[in-house]
Subunit: 131 residues, 10 copies
């Protein structure tokens, strides 16, 4: 079951704006209707809160904790749109980033591939458009 | 015969704006002049109406119903432009989306490949241009 | 319905051995169980009977007739293996070639792609193996 | 000899704006200096005049007539730039489109490939830049 | 847990020798040491027993049953080599084929990709070598 | 009209066996039935007669003469098989090579690509099979 | 030694704005420090001065003269940046174009590839960014 | 240990604005937590200070010194973000460029690839977005 | 320093012959002459000794131990040929396999890429040739 | 001018048979007829004489000396076949290898690419065929 409690963060290591992108090519969950597995790629992009952010703001997601968090979807029956929304919300809550974007790219079923994009905050133009 | 009655929708699962893209790589219809089969890829992109949309507004197209709808063009004699227009209009009517775009990409005949793009509503710049 | 009567042949234009390969990338039939469309590539390879072949032996398949023959599978409910066998048998009967090979390559369903190979006569080693 | 009389048009089948792209990958003409053949790809993009266009405005180019028109350059001795200009002018005159663009992409000679782009009317930003 | 009881077969539809290949690109199991998921492609190739095979010999694996069988490895902790061996043995027992081959191709960990090949019976030379 | 008189040869520059391959990616002729242009790649491979060959044996084809010879097919109405045969015969007559092979690879029509292979003399195994 | 005197121009063949791009994939010069050869691709893009340009303004670079000009760098010891600047300046002086751009793309040494871009005049946004 | 003292610069060779890009595809450092090696590509892009820059401003990084500087990270235990920041800061201090950008692209661990982008000064839009 | 003591093996899990291939794409060592880093891919292929092998024979290399062993070359000054030989000898000694092969594929220096292949025992034909 | 005196060798570092391949992708010479530059890739493959070879037999070519040797063709007017022969002969004389092979692959002129292969001694089957 998706478990945001697995996620940990560490302080942004710099005062200047950086953009971080993690591309997880081995995501799997299951279809809530048929129980069949779904396979896809999850791309996370964000600009972390600055190092000098106010108390309560976090920085960067720790990569191994993010991997385990993605693994926690493995046997969850959940739609494409809900996966995308859930990951965005869990990470936005954890990181309080300047902006954040999730793009999920699914291998598909029955000859149809799908891409879902969900943004949080002012995602710059150069990171919009499908992956 | 193309049958929009095959299409079903489900409510948008989130209040925040998302973009959904379905790429059907196995579309086929027939040429109304020669009866020869045409083969192409149909890309549907849209931003669904928000969850809290007024009554009468729908949300997201159900993927299996969309697949069957595309199959209903199989033996229809219909031009490239008309396929593109028809799919856009049927889905716009079903979904009342914030915006919607259809791009059809045809393998072509006689050494000429074709791409047709039809937009509905304010398609953002990052989703314009050919596929 | 698959119709071998659509096929026509013309005499091999040379006395020396040649190998001919036709790759049809836009084949479609339907699944006999679900009625869903199948899409694939059909590769035909053969060495035609020599120009001086005995009476009753034919030469090369006429390309347009072959295209129309492949189209005749469009709405046939037929398994991958049967498509492959049928095309091999129909062409071997038509052409009485030195050897002939059919390889069908299917886009697949549920994450599994399939390739079926059926040979007729002594196919040389360099044309064996999957496509 | 290039013959715009081969081109025919049909009325735009829709009132909403669409973009049409035809990519002819097998164009050939000859070099007016050396007589050697030139090979290239000709991409035509345009937004047709609306269905309700005033009298005298045409709509979409008929695909087979366009193919024959391109074939009429086969033995013409003509420079890259002139091919590009000529096709743009002939089609703009035929179609009176909202905008139209021709991009020719040449395999080249002596290790130099060339691309020529010619626009007619207000080509949108997303269709500018070389192919 | 891997369950060969999910597999079903159907009689070979032809008397002539054919070769069948199914490429499952979405296989996943877990590492028995770390519990982390493994992802890979499973390629099955075989020449089915002839239609006129003696009693007790089976023919071709039914594709949907094969898919469900592969899904049954999803939460199994099992090494690469054991996955490969197990699939070969389960299918050889089911199908009594002329020959059969399993090649597993793993995305890998720590910068090392792996391929495992296991043969049953006289696999022809053209199907040997890694995928 | 195809003109073998355009071809010239020069003596093989070495006594040891070499293999020469020329890949002409811009070949065009026309269809004798429809007059439409055909486009393809012509691959010539051969082992030239040794430098010390008996009188009357030639060596290597001069590259510019070969290019002009290929150009002479430009407006010829001729089938794929006949193009392949003709080039093989013209070059074999010119060069008296140890062996020679022509493979033509056509972009195709109506969704079917074609490859034709014609050998002269004992072409080694490593140069057989389709291109 | 780089010789702009090799360059010749011809009048722009049209009054409407066109964009011309020549991609020379076989450029070579030498490193002024080590004498080792450098290999790269030189891309020239420009919008020529209009046909009705004032006296003293030129049009389009003649392609063969451009090729010979590029060859004149062959044994010149010259840095990447200086090659790029020099070609831009020589062509801008020759052509007095609306704008012009040179992008050099070097295969590199010691595991580092390099790209240098030099603009002249108002290069449009769609032609900026690396090649 | 990363050593900016290895870096040397040379004066910008031109007064006009140019953009320089160096793509180092063989970067390696180590993970500060596990000691395992990390592998990635480091892309440096910048517009050098003009030739006529005030005293104290430098121009272009010397390529061999840059290579040795990158090598100095080989056995450093350092996070992705810190590598990116460090290279940007060291080069910005050395070169006082108009703008400068570092994009690091990591092969990744556990199925997740990462990209980090760090800008210095007004990086133009056409060089934003991940590589 | 290369340390075969890092390598561990486990018993072959099957009696039937299997082939195992591990492709390590992130190998690095250093040049013994210049101290510059070398980067390459190391492919290990082998048929393990059978499960019922005589005492003293080992089975399969444990993957994590192999990874650490490859890491131990990181700061070793060693030629391409010696790397290849060394890995082959260390693994052959550890595993006493039916046969074993190492292919190293180096990104190269000064525009020259290199591949080195070293075999142990009767490597089957289908695994010979360059990678 | 091609200078075999630039080549140096070092003793084969092993008693067991290895195969070495060097792929030089940046070769250039000039056409003896036109003076125009030719560009290509030179692949050298060989099995060196064993370490315990009789006096007078050499081992492996030193890579930097080989690079300089290839550079010495830069301004030589020489045909494709002669380049290939010359490199084979110079290296065979230097190394007295078990076998040796040169394959040159030329970017070509006038739309025709060329490949020349020259063998010395018993080149194994898996290294024959064009690159």
């Amino acid at each position: 079951m998706p478990d945001p409690g697995l996620l940990t963060a560490f302080p942004t290591p710099t005062d200047s704006a950086i953009v971080i992108e993690h591309i997880a090519e081995e995501f799997t969950s299951t279809c809530p209707l048929t129980g069949h597995p779904d396979f896809g790629t999850v791309t996370l992009r964000y600009q972390p809160a600055p190092r000098a952010a106010p108390a309560g703001q976090r920085g960067c997601v720790e990569l191994k904790s993010y991997k385990l968090y993605l693994h926690s979807f493995r046997n969850e029956g959940i739609f494409y749109e809900a996966v995308t929304d859930r990951i965005r919300d869990d990470l936005a809550r954890l990181l309080t980033p300047a902006w954040l974007q999730i793009v999920t790219n699914w291998r598909g079923r029955g000859g149809i591939r799908s891409v879902i994009r969900a943004d949080h905050g002012p995602v710059p133009a150069e990171y919009r458009g499908s992956l």
